[in-house]
C-alpha cells in the first residue's frame, strides 16, 4: 500500500498511520517518523512552497527508489505545504515491512532525501521578518551516506 501526498492543512499523524498499518496485513514491523516545526529561536511560522509539476512526482520517484532498495510492504509519505505553526506536524513517513531493518532503514532513507533533495522552499517568520532556509551541512552529509555502494 503506497500513499504519497502533499497536504495544505494541519493533520493528525495517527489518522494516517492507523489506516496505513491496517492496510498492510501480515507486516512484521512498521516504523514511523513524524517531524514537527520546532518552537524555538522566535520562529512564529514556517511557509513551505512547492512546485506542482516537480514536487509530488519527485516524492513518487523517491518512493520508487525506496521500494527498489528495501523489501517493503507499504510506504506512507505525507508532507505539509503552505503556512505551518510551531508544534504542527510538517512530515510523516511510515514504512511497513516483513522485517524491522527494512522498515527502519526506509524511513531513514526517505527522510534524508526529503530534508535536502526534495523540491521545497522554506522560509521562517521571526519578529524581524521572513528568512529563507537552506539545508544544513549535516543534512547534506546525511544524504551522502546513501550514495555509498550497496548491494542491490
Amino acid at each position: 500500500m503506497r500513499d504519497i501526498r502533499l497536504i495544505d492543512r494541519p493533520f493528525i499523524p495517527g489518522t494516517l498511520i492507523d489506516p496505513f498499518t491496517q492496510a498492510n496485513p501480515g507486516l512484521g514491523g512498521v516504523c514511523t517518523f513524524v517531524g514537527e516545526v520546532r518552537a524555538e529561536g522566535g520562529v512564529e511560522a514556517l511557509e513551505l512552497t512547492h512546485y506542482e509539476p516537480l514536487t509530488l512526482p519527485g516524492m513518487n520517484a523517491l518512493a520508487d527508489r525506496a521500494c527498489a532498495r528495501f523489501d517493503l510492504m507499504g510506504l506512507l509519505m505525507v508532507h505539509r505545504i503552505g503556512m505551518i505553526r510551531p508544534g504542527e506536524p510538517i512530515v510523516c513517513v511510515s514504512a511497513a515491512a516483513r522485517h524491522r531493518r527494512d522498515a527502519i532503514d526506509t524511513v531513514d532513507f526517505v527522510m534524508d532525501h526529503l530534508k535536502s533533495a526534495a523540491w521545497f522552499w522554506k522560509r521562517e517568520k521571526r519578529a524581524n521578518g521572513w528568512h529563507w532556509i537552506e539545508p544544513r551541512a549535516e543534512d547534506h552529509a546525511d544524504l551522502a551516506r546513501w550514495k555509498m555502494p550497496h548491494p542491490e
Partner: protein, 80 residues
C-alpha cells in the same frame, strides 16, 4: 500563447513577483533579458535549476520554450 515564467523561493522576492509572461519562443539569452536584473544575476549559478514544461533541464543553456510552455526558475531547495 506566451511563455509563463515562474519564480520560486527567494527568486520571487528578488523578482518582486511570482511570474511574468514572455513572448514565445524563449531561449536562454531571451530569458536573461526578460527577467529582472537581480534574478538574471543569479540564473547562471550551478545551484539554480530550470524546468521547462515540467522537466528539469540538464543544460539550462539549451532552453527552448514554445507557445504555452511554463518555465520555472528553481533556486537551491530548502528541503522538507
Amino acid at each position: 500563447m506566451p511563455v509563463r515564467v515562474l519564480f520560486l523561493g527567494q527568486l520571487a522576492d528578488l523578482a518582486g513577483t511570482g511570474e511574468i509572461s514572455v513572448p514565445a519562443p524563449l531561449d536562454w539569452d531571451g530569458l536573461l533579458r526578460s527577467v529582472p536584473a537581480a534574478v538574471a544575476e543569479r540564473l547562471p549559478a550551478e545551484t539554480v535549476k530550470l524546468a521547462c514544461a515540467g522537466q528539469v533541464l540538464a543544460d539550462k543553456i539549451s532552453l527552448c520554450a514554445m507557445d504555452g510552455d511554463e518555465v520555472a526558475l528553481l533556486p537551491p531547495v530548502s528541503g522538507g
